[in-house]
C-alpha cells in the first residue's frame, strides 16, 4: 500500500535566521513500520516531524507521503494521511470540549454529521477516553489529555501516525498505558522521543539524528546495543538494557 509510505530524500531546512536544522536527511519508511526517531536536544527531530505534514516546507530535497510529494498545492492531501500528535497536548486541544476537539478534523474534512459522530466515539473508545467527551480539555489530567490528543488525529483515520515526545510529562502508569495503546495501533508510526525504553517497546526500527543528519538507521535492538554510537549522539542505553547496579 503506497499511501502508507514516507520517503525523505536529501531533506534540507534552515530557519529564517539562517541556522541550518536539517542537512540532507534521507530515509524510507514503509507500510506498518514503527520507527523511533532519537537524538540529542537540537538534533532536528521536531523540525523533521513538522515537514511530514507540511507545517514546514523543505528548502532542499523532497518529502513524499504516500502518492503525494509534499508541495503547497497538495499539502491538504498529505495532512489527511498524516496524523500529527504534538508534544504539548494543550497545543492540540483547543476546543471547548474534548468531543469538539476530536470532531474538529472530521468536520473540516466535510464529512456528514453521522459519520463525524461515529468517528469521534470510535476514536475516543480506541484510546479509552469515551467518558471524557463532554469534559473541557483544561480540566482533565495529563494522561487523559495525551489520550484525547491522540483521539483527535485517530478520528481523521490517518494512514501514518507521527508523534513528538508522546510520553513526556506522563506518570509511569499513564506512560505504560500509552505504550500498550501504541502497540495496538496498526498504523505506520514515527515517534520522536528521548524515552528510549518506549522506543524499545514500540518501534522495531530506530533512526538516530545528529546535527540535522542521519547518524544511524537500523533495527532498534542493534542500535541500542552500540554503546559507542549512543555515546556519540548524547544517548544512553535504555534502562531495561543497562546492567543492574547496587541492587
Amino acid at each position: 500500500m503506497s499511501h502508507h509510505i514516507v520517503e525523505l530524500k536529501n531533506l534540507e531546512f534552515a530557519y529564517a535566521d539562517g541556522t541550518p536544522a536539517l542537512r540532507g536527511v534521507s530515509f524510507r519508511i514503509v507500510h506498518g513500520e514503527s520507527v523511533g526517531l532519537v537524538g540529542a536536544n537540537g538534533a532536528g527531530k521536531s523540525t523533521l516531524l513538522l515537514h511530514l505534514n507540511g507545517c514546514l516546507f523543505p528548502v532542499g530535497g523532497t518529502v513524499q507521503v504516500g502518492d503525494y510529494p509534499l508541495t503547497r498545492k497538495n499539502v491538504d492531501d498529505v495532512r489527511r494521511r498524516v496524523g500529527m500528535v504534538f508534544q504539548d497536548p494543550d497545543d492540540q486541544l483547543f476546543m471547548p470540549r474534548v468531543f469538539d476537539d476530536v470532531a474538529f478534523g472530521p468536520l473540516n474534512l466535510g464529512l456528514p454529521r453521522d459519520e463525524v459522530e461515529s468517528r469521534v466515539h470510535g476514536a475516543l473508545r480506541q484510546v479509552g477516553a469515551d467518558h471524557l467527551a463532554e469534559r473541557p480539555p483544561y480540566k482533565i489530567s495529563g494522561g487523559e489529555k495525551r489520550a484525547a490528543a491522540i483521539a483527535t488525529v485517530l478520528s481523521m483515520s490517518p494512514d501514518i501516525l507521527v508523534m513528538d515526545e508522546p510520553s513526556s510529562g506522563l506518570d509511569p502508569l499513564s506512560r505504560r498505558q500509552l505504550i500498550e495503546l501504541l502497540r495496538r495501533f496498526r498504523h505506520t508510526k514515527i515517534i520522536a522521543t528521548h524515552d528510549l525504553d518506549l522506543v524499545l517497546d514500540v518501534c522495531e526500527r530506530t533512526i538516530v539524528l545528529n546535527g540535522g543528519r542521519v547518524a544511524a538507521d537500523g533495527p532498534t535492538a542493534e542500535i541500542f546495543r552500540d554503546e559507542a554510537l549512543l555515546m556519540a549522539n548524547h544517548l544512553e542505553k535504555p534502562l531495561r538494557m543497562q546492567p543492574l547496579a547496587g541492587c
Binding site: C55, G83, M84, F86, P96, F104, N108, P137, V153
Partner: protein, 270 residues
C-alpha cells in the same frame, strides 16, 4: 490561592451551568444574547434621575436567577468585584449636583444622590444580566451564538481562545514570578526592568504557543472556520422567551409603571 488565581478559578466556573446535562433553563444563546443586549440598551437609556422607572427591570435578572437556578451569592460575588468601578464613576455626583429634586418626608434628597443611586442600579442590572447570560448559556455557547449572528469569525475565535488559554498563560506567568521570587531573597516587589523582561518573555512564549496551536489546527484541516457538530436551531420557545421579555422592557421604558401603580393606590385611598 492568590487573588489572580481565584479570579481565574471563577472564570473556569463561568460555564459550569451552561454545560450541565440538564440546564434548568434551555434557551438558545442567540435568543439570550438579543434579550440581554436589548435589556442593557433599555437600562442605559433611562434618564439619570429616573431611578423609579428602572425598578421594574429588576424582574429580569431575578427571574433568570430563579428559572436558571443560579445562586444569588454566585452573582453577588462577581458584582462585588466589579462594583468599585461603578462607585468611582458616580461617587462625586452628590458633591457636584446638590440641587434638591426629591423629598422623602423630612429628608431632602439632592439630584447627585439620585443620579449616584441610578448609576449603581444600572450597574447592578446590566452586569448581572451579562453574567447570567454566560452562567446560563455557557461562555463557549455565547461565542458560537455570536458567530451565528454574524459577529466576525476572527473575533469569535479570539474570544474562544482567550478563555481556553488564559489559564495556560497565567500558569506560565505564575511560574516566572515564582522563579523570580525564589532568587530575589529579601528584595520586595519587582523592578521595572525585570517586569518588562518578564512581560516580553511571556509575549514571546505566547507567540510560540500560538504558532504551535496554529500548526495543530492546520494539521487537522483548519481553513479559517471553526465548525461545531451540535449546533442548536432556534425554536418557538426561544422566540417566545425573547419576545415576551423585549415586550416587557419596552413597556417599562415607555410607561413609568411604579408611578402608575403609586397613583392608582393613592387614588383609591383618597
Amino acid at each position: 490561592m492568590s487573588g489572580a488565581g481565584q479570579a481565574l478559578g471563577s472564570l473556569n466556573g463561568l460555564d459550569g451551568l451552561g454545560r450541565a446535562d440538564a440546564p434548568a433553563l434551555r434557551v438558545d444563546p442567540r435568543a439570550m444574547i438579543v434579550t440581554t443586549f436589548l435589556f442593557i440598551a433599555v437600562v442605559s437609556s433611562f434618564d439619570k434621575y429616573d431611578l423609579l422607572g428602572l425598578l421594574p427591570l429588576v424582574l429580569y435578572p431575578v427571574s433568570l436567577m430563579a428559572l436558571g437556578r443560579v445562586s444569588f451569592r454566585r452573582i453577588a460575588r462577581r458584582l462585588l468585584v466589579a462594583s468599585p468601578f461603578a462607585v468611582m464613576i458616580g461617587i462625586f455626583n452628590p458633591v457636584f449636583d446638590g440641587r434638591i429634586i426629591a423629598e422623602l418626608g423630612p429628608l431632602a434628597v439632592s439630584g447627585g444622590w439620585i443620579s449616584f443611586a441610578s448609576i449603581l442600579v444600572k450597574f447592578l442590572l446590566t452586569v448581572s444580566a451579562a453574567l447570567l447570560l454566560v452562567e446560563i448559556c455557557g461562555f463557549d455557547a455565547v461565542c458560537f451564538g455570536l458567530g451565528k449572528m454574524g459577529v466576525p469569525r476572527v473575533l469569535v475565535s479570539q474570544l474562544l481562545f482567550l478563555k481556553r488559554y488564559i489559564h495556560v498563560a497565567a500558569d506560565e506567568a505564575a511560574r516566572m514570578v515564582r522563579a523570580h521570587a525564589l532568587r530575589s531573597f529579601r528584595r520586595r516587589g519587582m523592578s521595572f526592568r525585570v517586569f518588562g523582561s518578564l512581560c516580553g518573555q511571556l509575549l514571546l512564549r505566547s507567540l510560540d504557543r500560538a504558532q504551535r496551536i496554529y500548526n495543530a489546527m492546520i494539521s487537522r484541516g483548519f481553513s479559517g472556520r471553526i465548525h461545531l457538530l451540535r449546533e442548536r436551531s432556534v425554536r418557538g420557545g426561544d422566540i417566545l422567551f425573547a419576545s415576551l421579555w423585549i415586550g416587557f422592557f419596552l413597556l417599562v421604558r415607555l410607561y413609568n409603571i411604579p408611578l402608575w401603580i403609586g397613583t392608582l393606590v393613592l387614588g383609591s385611598l383618597a
